[in-house]
Amino acid sequence: MAWLDPYAGAWGEEEAAHLARRAGFGARVAELAALAATDRATAVDSFVDFPPVDQALEDAILALPDTTDGLRIKDPVRQNDLVGWWLFRFAKTNQPLQEQFALFLHDTLVSDFPKVATSITTSVNDGNDGSLAGQRCTTGTLAPDPNRKNRILNRMLRDQTNLFRVDGFGSYVELLKKVTRDPAMLFYLDNATNVVGKPQENYGREIMELFSMGVGNYTEADVKAVSRAFTGETVNNLCQADYPFTHLYDATKHDTNPKIVFGDSFNLPGPGEDTDYVVELIANWVSGADITPFHATLPATAIYMAWKFIKWFVHEDVPMDHAAVGELATFFRDSGFNVRETLRTLFNSAFFYDAAYRYAMYKHPIDYCTMALRTLGLEENGYAGTYASNILTMGMGPFNAPNVAGWNHGKAWINSGTLITRFNYANRLSGTGIATDAWVDAILASGEVANESDHAGLVEYFRRRMIQTALRPEEEAALAAFLDGIQSGTGSTTTKYRRKVRGLVHIFMTLPRYQLK
C-alpha cells in the first residue's frame, strides 16, 4: 500500500477545500474554516458518515408550496419537475456526499425518463380518468387522476435514486441485487420482458459491461447465460390499486434449465435464487483477462468499480492500470465491496491529495451550478427554474443520460455551446431575481468588505467562496479592470456597488479555473 497510505502532508484550507469540492459540492466559508481546523480523518468522516435519510431535507421538500419557480418539486408530474426535485436536493442537502454519490450511481446504474415513460405507456391502460371500461384492468377502482401515468413514472425514478441514497453506501453486491429488481431498471433495460425460451440480452449484457466488470471479462455465451438466469424478474403491473409497479418474480417465466456462466453450471430452485447467484458470480469473477495486471488476482468488478470511484472523485484520466486502482480494488474486495469504507480510505489517501489532481478535474454541470448556489448562499433565492432549464443544455440532465453508459466526463463537458450555457446560467444567478438587492447588500454588512468602493475586499469576498486558493495576477487584473470600469462610470454609490457585486458573481463563474475542481 503506497498510494492509499494516509495523506501525511499539510492540512489546511486548501486541502479541506479540495476534499469539499470532490466529496461534496464545495464548502461554505464557515464549513471550510471548521474542516481546516480539525484533522483530516475527522474532516473525511464528516462527509462519509451520515444517516440514511436527511430528514431536514425531506421536511424542507414537504414544506414547499405546490409550485416552486414554476416546478412541482413536492409532487413531480413533468420530467422537469423531477429534475427540479433533485436539483433542489443538491442545493439544500446536509449530506452532500450522499447526493454526489447518488449522482455517481445514477450515472453508473443508468435509467432514463423517456425509456421508462415508453414502457409505462405500454403498460398502463387506464385512461387517466379512473374509468376501467375497455381497458386491460377490469376490476378495482382507481380514483380519477389526469396525471396518473406521470406520477407513476416519477415515483419509480425517484424511488430508484432513493435506493442509491439508502443502499448505496453498503455492499455494492447487495446494491446490484436490488437494482436488478428495481422497477425502473426492469423497464429501462427490458428485463421486465425477459422470459424463458425468448431471453433478451439487454440487462444481462449491461450489468456486466457497465455495472460491474467492464468489457473483456466475459464471452457472448456468458451474456446469453446470464440473461437466462434473470428471466422471470419482472414488474408487477397487474390491476392493483393505482398500479403499484413493484418488483415481481414470476416463476412461470423463469428458465429452469442449467445455465453456465464462467464455466459454472447452476440452476437454483427458489424464487430469485438464480439472480442472486449470478450477481455473486459476476461480482467475484477473477477473469484473468489481459486488461491490467490486477485482473490476474482481483475480481474484475472490484477493479472496474475502484477505477470508476477514482475517475469520479480523483481524476477522470487515471488509467485502469494505475497502481492506485489496484490498491483500491484490493481494499474494496477485502471490505466485502463496502462502498462507505472504500470511499473513506480514498478520501484519506495520499493519492487523493496529490498536488497533480487538485484543480485538475472539469466540474460536471451539476457541480458547476450547485457549488455556486451553496458557496454564495443563493440556494434560498428562487434558482430552481433557471437551474432546471439550463442543466440539460449543459449536457447533464438528470434522468436523461445520453445512453446506458451515462455521461461522458472530463473534456467532454467543455465546448463552445456548453460554456455559453454555463456563462448564461451565471448571468441569470447574478440577476436581481436571484442575487436580490437584499442578498447583495448583506455582503456590505458582512464586515468582509469595508465599503462600496473596497474593490480588493469585494474580490477577496468572492475568492474565499468560489476559488479558495490564490488568484493569478491576470485574473486579478481582469477583475480589477471590471470594477474600475464601473467605478469610473455614472450612477449612485449604491447602484454602482450592486452592479459590481452582480458582475463579480457572473465573471467569477466564467473564470477558466472555475470550470475546474
Partner: protein, 449 residues
C-alpha cells in the same frame, strides 16, 4: 493567435463589437469574411454525418424483399415488415414504409444504400463499437487519440492557415462528437440550440464581456485551462455566425423538421449552409435505436412503435433538409452519410425487439450521389452469421476513405495508415461508386493562396 483575435483583425472589428454584432451583421459581410479564408478542404464540398445512436435495425430499414429467410416465421415472427408493404427500390430491396420520402430521393438517383458495412470481429457493446466508428479503428488496433475526421483534418491541412471557427460543427447536440475531437490545431463548436447560442448579460455588457474576454486570453500553460480558453474563443468567434444563420427563413413549411435533436440539428445545418458559411463537416445525431423491446407496437409493424417512429423522423428530417438544399442550389455540394454503431440480430427476441448485432446498412444522400445499392446483399443464411448477426463485407473505414478521397480530394492514408489502406481500403473502394464527383477539377487549398 486565438481564433477570435485573428478574426477580429480580419473583420476590422473590436473584440467588444464582435460580441454584440449577432443578428445585426448583414449576411454579405459575414460571407465576405468567410470567403477570404483559405480552406484546406479543397472545394466547397460539404459532408453531413448523421449518427443513428443505439444500433439501427438495418434489416427493417432496407428490407431484403426477396429473401425467404427474412420472411420465415422463425426469423421475425412479429416485427418483420409484411411482404408487399415495403417500398420497392429494386427486386431485392425495399424501404420501410415510413421512409416514403427517401424512396422518392432514391428514385431521383440521390440516395445510395451501402449494405454489409462493419468490420472483422465485431464488438456487441454500444460503447466499444461506437468508439470504432468515431475514432476510425478496429479491434486489431490500438485506439487512436483523435477521431477519424480530426485525423483527416490534421493530415490533410498541414501547413494550411488556421481554420474558420465554424469549419466543423456539431449541430443539435451538446457535445463535440469524438470523430471531430483531438485535433492539435482545431477545436470544433457544438451548438445544441441556436437560439440560446449567445452570451447574455443582464447589465454592464461591455465591461463584463471585456473581463470574460481577458480571462480567456490564451497564454496559460495549464492544458486544462488552455482547453477551456480555446473553447471560449471558439464560442466568441462563432456566436455571430450562428445567430446570422439562425435568422435565415425556412424554405420548407413549419413542422417539416421533426421535433428534437435530429430535426433541430438538420435545420441549423441547412441554415449554416444556406448562409454561405465555410463549414465543411457537420455532425447530427438521432438517439433511441437500441430497440430491445417493443420495436413495434402489438400487431402493427408498420406505423407505431419505437423503430417505425424513429424512421418517420429520419425520413422527415432528411427530406426537409435535402429539399432546402435543392431549393437553395446547394444540393450538389452536400452529401449526408448515416451510420450506426451496429445493426441488430437477424432473429427477433421475445420482447418484440432485437438484440445487438453486427454489420448494417448506411445511407448516402445528396446531389453528388450516384444512387443505387452497393456492398452486395445481406446474407441471412444462419451459416454465414456472426453471433446471429450479419457478417460484414465492407469495412466502414473504406466508406470514410471514399469521402476523404473523392469528396474532399484528400488522402485516406494520412488518417488510417498505409497498412490499413493497402490491406483493407484499397480493395473495397472500387465497390463504393456512390459518389458522382471525382477528384478532377477540385481545387486544393493552396490554390487560394
Amino acid at each position: 493567435m486565438s481564433l477570435s483575435r485573428r478574426r477580429f483583425m480580419q473583420l476590422g472589428l473590436s473584440s467588444l463589437a464582435y460580441f454584440s454584432t449577432a443578428a445585426t451583421t448583414p449576411n454579405w459581410i459575414v460571407r465576405t469574411a468567410h470567403a477570404m479564408q483559405a480552406d484546406c478542404f479543397s472545394s466547397d464540398k460539404i459532408l453531413v454525418i448523421l449518427q443513428q445512436s443505439g444500433g439501427n435495425d438495418g434489416l427493417n430499414t432496407v428490407i431484403p424483399r426477396s429473401d425467404a429467410i427474412y420472411y420465415d416465421a422463425a426469423t421475425r415472427p412479429t416485427i418483420r415488415v409484411p411482404q408487399g408493404s415495403e417500398i420497392a427500390l429494386d427486386g431485392l430491396n425495399g424501404l420501410h414504409p415510413r421512409l416514403a420520402n427517401l424512396a422518392n430521393w432514391y428514385q431521383q438517383g440521390r440516395l445510395a444504400v451501402v449494405h454489409n458495412v462493419g468490420y472483422l470481429n465485431p464488438n456487441f457493446s454500444h460503447f466499444v463499437a461506437t468508439d470504432y466508428y468515431e475514432y476510425g479503428y478496429t479491434p486489431d488496433l490500438v485506439k487512436p487519440t483523435s477521431g477519424w475526421m480530426a485525423r483527416f483534418y490534421d493530415n490533410h491541412c498541414q501547413g494550411a492557415p488556421d481554420p474558420d471557427a465554424l469549419l466543423m460543427c456539431g449541430c443539435g447536440i451538446s457535445n463535440v462528437p469524438d470523430s471531430m475531437n483531438g485535433s492539435t490545431r482545431y477545436t470544433p463548436p457544438a451548438v445544441r440550440s441556436a437560439s440560446s447560442y449567445s452570451f447574455a448579460t443582464a447589465s454592464d455588457r461591455d465591461l463584463r464581456l471585456a473581463a470574460i474576454n481577458a480571462l480567456n486570453a490564451p497564454g496559460t500553460v495549464d492544458p486544462n485551462l488552455e482547453f477551456i480558453q480555446r473553447s471560449v474563443n471558439v464560442a466568441e468567434a462563432s456566436t455571430a455566425d450562428i445567430a446570422n444563420a439562425a435568422s435565415l427563413p425556412a424554405l420548407v413549411p413549419d413542422g417539416s423538421y421533426p421535433a428534437g435533436s435530429l430535426g433541430d440539428g438538420l435545420k441549423l445545418v441547412s441554415q449554416i449552409i444556406r448562409g454561405g458559411f465555410g463549414t465543411r463537416v457537420f455532425y447530427v445525431s438521432q438517439g433511441g435505436y437500441d430497440t430491445h423491446a417493443n420495436q413495434i407496437q402489438t400487431g402493427d409493424p408498420l406505423v407505431f412503435g419505437d423503430h417505425p417512429e424513429l424512421l418517420r423522423d429520419l425520413d422527415a428530417g432528411l427530406h426537409a433538409f435535402l429539399t432546402e438544399m435543392e431549393l437553395s442550389g446547394n444540393l450538389d455540394r452536400v452529401v449526408v452519410m448515416t451510420f450506426s454503431e451496429f445493426g441488430r440480430r437477424v432473429k427477433e427476441n421475445g420482447s418484440r425487439g432485437t438484440d445487438h448485432g453486427a454489420a448494417n446498412c448506411m445511407f448516402v444522400l445528396g446531389g453528388g450521389v450516384q444512387g443505387g445499392v452497393y456492398g452486395g446483399q445481406p446474407n441471412l443464411d444462419p451459416s454465414s452469421l456472426v453471433n446471429g448477426s450479419l457478417a460484414h463485407a465492407i469495412d466502414f473505414r473504406s466508406v470514410y476513405a471514399k469521402f476523404m478521397q473523392d469528396w474532399f480530394n484528400g488522402d485516406p492514408v494520412g488518417a488510417f495508415g498505409q497498412q490499413v489502406y493497402d490491406s483493407v481500403i484499397a480493395g473495397e473502394l472500387p465497390q463504393l461508386g456512390f459518389l458522382r464527383s471525382t477528384a478532377a477539377g477540385a481545387r486544393s487549398w493552396q490554390s487560394y493562396q
